[in-house]
Amino acid sequence: MRLEPIANPSAARRYGFPALALAATVLVASILSWIAGADPLATLGLIVTGATGSRLAILETLNRATPLIFTGLAVAVAFRAKLWNIGAEAQLYAGAVMTVVIGTSAWGMAWLQLPAMALAAVAAGALVLLGPVILKTRFGVDEVVTTLLFNFIMLLFVSWLVEGPMKDPAGMGWPKSTPVDRDLRLPRMVEGLRLHWGFGLAVLAALLIWLMQARSVLGFEMRAVGQNARAARFSGIAVTSVLLKTALISGGLAALAGFSEVAGLKGHLTRDLSPGFGYTGIIVAMLALLHPIGVVVAALFVAGIFVGSDSMSRAAGVPTYIADMLLAVSLLFMVLALGLARYRVAWT
């Protein structure tokens, strides 16, 4: 077989194949629940109602989507410039650490301190990604492996922090940090509803990134570097500088996931603050076709699958890991769909 590039793929191709990918994922979901001995249609129904069936369920889905929007944006921004940031998990924790550091110090000025927490988080996340990217641009070390390895180092660092210097003296011996002051939590978006401003911030971030990509010179340069770094260099774009800027933005976005989880939801830092939000961000970004607004939609979808599967699992007895399987399958189908949209398969 041979792949022939299509110069101008039609809208039917560009959106039809991704739609097929989602349909195929639903099919796999049915097969998996059938294997698990449950009624496929009932399982799918339980996932949908579990994620959207009540006010509580919807709020839970929105809360779960919040960190995924941030990590999804982090990955989407980086991947667009072909910067393979697989370290959103580490950057998230770096953000969470700084949030607690600033959030547990006594400033006496909450209006200044909350933004300072966010800024410190962004700076820490950006720095964490800067390391691997400098290794890439300076020594040619593949950033995939270094960012992956850094995730493990960061998690051990956090493990040390919450058992040692940052440990909550009032925590009954549990490995968790001292909580952030009550006045320094993100307020709720609507009084009485359990949804914090982290979600609003995430949507705002998506809009800003969209504007940046569509309207700014940097956005154009990032796309050019991603499409063909060599050509970009010949046309006078400082590729290294663009990659470094991309790293700062991407790392900062992932760190905001840590900030919003601590300041909006948990209040303190633990080793299990993120159940793999950084890795799931890759799925979110790919499902969104790397588009910032798409990231918000994809994050809601992915969060819905997680929340829905949790509640389905309690009712139908299908293991919750079905959610992880479905998301991995949807990722692979989506990559294939994107390939098929741009190429025609010729059997010769």
Binding site: M1, R2, L3, L32, I35, A36, W84, I86, L135, F139, G140, V141, D142, V144, V145, T146, L148, L149, F150, F152, I153, L156, F157, S159, W160, E163, G164, Y279, I282, I283, M286, G317, P319, Y321, I322, D324, M325, L327, A328, V329, L331, L332, V335, L336, G339, T348
Partner: protein
């Protein structure tokens, strides 16, 4: 300082290093074969989890230990086929597909484990491979207990390294695999099937990765845990670079690395371990991998067509 010397001159330390190196050797050889054919296989971490699970489960269901190894190899080949289909004929991003395969294989192993054993609180055990003292050789002082009282799977790991080295450098098949990783267009002009060779290499390599995972359940521990692979796959990718894509050097790197790992466990028991937090020791293997990547980056001989998809008729 004395503590360090005491560790280095004990045969049990080197025996542990060889044992820890074994799964890394299998998986590193697997990754090396894929990359030599021009395909970066980031599915390694998940495929190791899959192998650890399927190998263990087969034995738990009553198969012999070598049957478990074969089942693990087969499950690895299956995920290798998935990876190869998407990355070779379809030429899709090897980064994204690899991560997708890791996520899928990890989730599938967890899903299947929960489905097969819904109610277990403590992971069930199997009878793993037992150490086998090689006659005569195991009587050599120091070297005997260190090298020749290992489990059969460890001997198999080192044997596999020899086989892979011989095949890659001494057979037409090895030459063909290296050719499609260096210059696929020239290889195709010679009448070689780039697609077939690459897919075969990825499938066989993935099988070896799964056997590396199975070592953990069939030889090192006797139960399956969800997070037992714990980044070993990513470390193996670093080991391939450290070994400059050569089987011999890669095995040396794996043993060196395992010696550090065995050493940090022992150092934790000494007065140094009392001063430093245990996380420092656990982070050491990952820090070491990054340092190895930086050091080797200057003189690494990367296969020229690594991560470059080949499409007939495209120049």
């Amino acid at each position: 300082m004395m503590a360090l010397v005491d560790i280095l001159i004990s045969a049990s330390f080197w025996a542990a290093a060889i044992r820890i190196a074994s799964p890394l050797i299998f998986a590193t050889l697997g990754e090396l074969i894929c990359e030599r054919a021009g395909v970066l296989n980031l599915g390694i971490e998940g495929i190791m989890v899959m192998g650890a699970f399927t190998g263990w489960f087969a034995v738990y269901q009553g198969m012999p230990l070598w049957g478990g190894v074969a089942v693990a190899f087969g499950s690895g080949m299956l995920f290798g086929l998935l990876h190869a289909t998407l990355t070779v004929p379809f030429g899709l991003s090897q980064h994204v597909v690899g991560l997708g395969v890791t996520l899928l294989a990890t989730a599938t192993a967890s899903f299947a484990y929960r489905l097969a054993l819904p109610q277990v609180t403590s992971p069930p055990r199997i009878d793993p491979f037992q150490p086998f003292a090689v006659p005569v050789l195991s009587d050599i002082p120091f070297l005997g207990p260190a090298l020749f009282t290992q489990t059969a799977l460890t001997y198999a790991a080192f044997g596999m390294a020899v086989v892979v080295g011989l095949v890659l450098y001494r057979t037409p098949l090895g030459l063909a695999v290296r050719a499609v990783g260096e210059n696929p267009a020239a290889a195709a002009a010679q009448g070689l099937s780039v697609t077939g060779l690459r897919m075969g290499a990825v499938m066989f390599g993935s099988g070896l990765m799964a056997v590396g995972g199975a070592f953990l359940t069939l030889s090192a521990f006797s139960s399956f845990f969800f997070d037992m692979v714990n980044g070993r796959g990513w470390i193996c990718i670093a080991l391939v670079v450290f070994g400059a894509w050569r089987p011999g050097k890669a095995v040396l790197g794996a043993v060196l690395f395992a010696a550090f790992d065995a050493g940090q466990v022992r150092l934790q028991q000494t007065e140094i371990g009392a001063i430093l937090p245990y996380q420092v020791f656990l982070a050491l293997p990952f820090v070491l991998s990054i340092i190895a990547l930086i050091v080797m980056s200057r003189r690494a001989e990367v296969p020229a067509a690594l991560m470059v998809p080949y499409n007939k008729g495209e120049r």
